[in-house]
Amino acid sequence: MSTAYRPPLAEMRFVLDEVAGLRTTTQLPGLEHATPEIVDQVLLAAARLASEVLAPLNPVGDRTGSVLENGVVRTPPGFREAYRQFADGGWNGLVFPAEWGGQDLPWTLGAAVAEMWNAANMTFQICPLLTQAVIDALLHHGTPEQKAVFLEPLVGGRWTGAMGLTEPQAGTDLGAIRTRAVPDRDGYRIFGQKIYISYGDHDMAENIVHLVLARLPDAPAGSRGLSLFIVPKLVPDAQGRPARRNDMRPLKLEHKLGLHASPTCVMAYGEDGGATGLLLGEPHAGLRCMFTMVNKARLAVGHEGLGLAERAYQQALTYAHERVQGRVAGRPVAILAYPDVRRMLLTMRAQIAAMRALAYWTAGFVDRAARAADPDARAAAAGRVALLTPIVKAWCTDRAQEIAALAVQVHGGMGFIEETGVAQHYREARILSIYEGTNGVQALDLVARKLAQDDGRLPWLLLEELRAEVPRLPEAPALERALATLETATRTVQAAPEEVRAAASTPYLRLIGQVLGAFLLGRGAASAQAPPYWGLLHRFYLRHLLPPALALGEVVAAGADDLDPAALAP
């Protein structure tokens, strides 16, 4: 069935330039080499690899899955070869420093490229995503020696990364982690068991570098007693070559709703005297180190939602053009002729455009936070990233699930049949609101931390910018009403006691995501370069997708009173 993926390059390029401000971003120090011509070439080359190599493997991965045999994980047929092409192509190093073999290209471009990997084959892309997260943590917290050993092979994609946080009793609450680290002559020995470790073992690369959260003997209880350790599958020798097999192994792969190609491992560390680990960052500062990578990874999960949604939409659109059902004015028609089918497809398309705009625009602040010449500009951009990260993660992934569900719906009965392929997207979208911090946790992070940051000024810096720009945008009155609702809700949440704030968190996150989406579509609509359909998407969004979201203002105002456990007695 239809599993083709055609990267919407023209639309992506438009959003990069006209909504996310890529041309301004590439004027930042160190990004001058990212000329418009290079951006085009990179997008084109990634589009080919994504659509010709990765996309055809997506259903294969779903049907075959990774397996654990004789203690090692085997990925589905074709994954190794595809990974080799991906790594040899240098794609893993897109945004990373030239010093370690990367290309120093903007994160904004990285977001667009990641969208394509995810649309083509999200399950495959989880592996590079984890590698990039590990690179990020090493770049920020590694010692010069650690960087010298690990960064080059990771940036080059010869080695991959894995994140070892979760344990059976410690999911959202990492403070409950029990894995132990004991100081040793040349480092630490790690003992414990982790669950759900994605790509904890596999056969696509020469080595796998785990970052493991564990507790030192003298550690305080709870999350302040966690330290982060580099635990490589093969311990490198003095020359940095993978040498000795470390004392760690996958015990079992989970049987899952989706992501069958991504090996989700139960990992045992230190069954045989202790796994060799190196401390990354300071003792007991593990959670802080880990958050460096988790924050980027959260944005990356938002990009997973975006990519998956685009793929599901493309498949539904093709089907709607082909499926003949019923007659209009006596002639047989494809289902696209029906307003309700068009409503579904336009909902998907307009929503995806808004998600793409939010994802790329946010990535622009990541670039500025890293590279702006002026320290104040860097700090301001970092604040903006902090505010937008939970929104990109949770809003894009929640919407991705709705879009995948609509894609199934457009297919009717065929959507429920696995061979059609669209059900895979529906099943796989489900993980996105769970891992990298559940979307509930994202919403809490937004209302409790981010809305309170800088004495509560952080969200208002954004809201004031929107206030200033909105009058220049098409359909300004509708946007102004939306902004007013968001401002009121923001004040309500900021003033609320903890319990009320928590109760309002998820509706508030959806509201701000939906309003930001409207604003960014409007920014695109104001551009002279806007493609003809963009104004249509903008208007559809304002009239069909925004009004129900604005009603969330009332939900936010309802507070916590009605979340009464009395109705929920076991």
């Binding site: 055609r6 390059l9 023209a10 080499h33 000329t35 011509e37 290079i38 085009d40 070439q41 990179v42 084109l44 080359a45 080919r48 690899l49 190599v53 092409q85 040899d88 192509g89 240098g90 794609w91 190093g93 897109l94 290309q103």
Partner: protein, 249 residues
């Protein structure tokens, strides 16, 4: 030895072709354009020859509008060493292209010209043959296998009857078929390096060629839509139909 690889910018093979409403040609506005797939195979082959030590330099040439430089960059990212862009109108016809290539061969003195057997936009399948004739060089067309030794190329040609093996003496023009190789994907580091490789820009005048079309297109139209078929129950029914309805037997 130097190898010359002409590369053409064409509508991407994935794009569904639309004919302009006035029948004057194919609509290329806002349509994704790429390197002609056969030229990609030619480029790949040249790179492999260089990697195998048969050549020192690969020069890619593209003739057409400014955007052809994108196509040249793609060739440079794959592994060509430098580019020549002849800035000309979009619709230069095979004979003019062959003449310009002849002039470039005169300047560059390559030992081989490796090019696509045809471009997927107009499917002319003429330029390579014309170029060989203009140069008075040997030609080997539709090749799906190539070995170089002692100043000769041994090739397999894909012809209707199967594979034909021939030997040609260099210098020669080779036009490549689909099964010769599988072109590589440009790697990210090579895309970045390609930016620094030189592209010379020439005009048809510099090469002493008039690019004006010699053929006049009267009209371009969509092929007629295929009629729906019918399922027949038996061979007898088929024979009857062929006799009575189609009148072909």
């Amino acid at each position: 030895m130097r190898i010359l690889v002409p590369v053409k910018r064409v509508v991407d093979y994935n794009v569904k072709i639309r004919v302009k409403a006035d029948g004057s040609g194919v609509d290329t506005a806002n349509v994704k354009m790429s390197m002609n797939p056969f030229d990609e195979i030619a480029c790949e082959q040249a790179i492999r020859l260089k990697e195998a030590g048969h050549a020192e330099e690969i020069v890619a040439v593209s003739i057409g509008e400014a955007k052809c430089q994108e196509t040249l960059r793609t060739a440079l990212a794959m592994g060509a060493d430098r580019g020549i862009h002849v800035e000309a109108p979009a619709d230069v016809q095979p004979l003019a292209v062959a003449k310009m290539l002849r002039a470039i061969v005169g300047r560059e003195q390559p030992g081989l010209v490796v090019m696509g057997k045809q471009a997927i936009d107009d499917d002319s399948n003429q330029t390579g043959q014309m170029l060989a004739a203009l140069l008075g060089w040997a030609q080997a067309t539709f090749i799906s296998k190539l070995e170089l030794a002692d100043g000769r190329a041994v090739v397999a040609r894909e012809v209707d009857e199967g594979l034909e093996r021939i030997e040609v003496t260099l210098p020669a023009v080779l036009t490549v078929d689909l099964r010769l190789n599988e072109p590589r994907y440009a790697s990210l580091p090579n895309i970045m390096k390609a930016k620094k490789k030189p592209i010379d820009v020439l005009t048809p005048g510099d090469l002493g060629v008039d690019p004006a079309p010699r053929l006049l297109y009267l009209k371009v139209e969509e092929p007629p839509r295929r009629q729906a078929g019918v399922k027949l129950g038996s061979v007898d029914e088929l024979v009857t139909k062929l006799k009575q309805d189609a009148g072909v037997i």
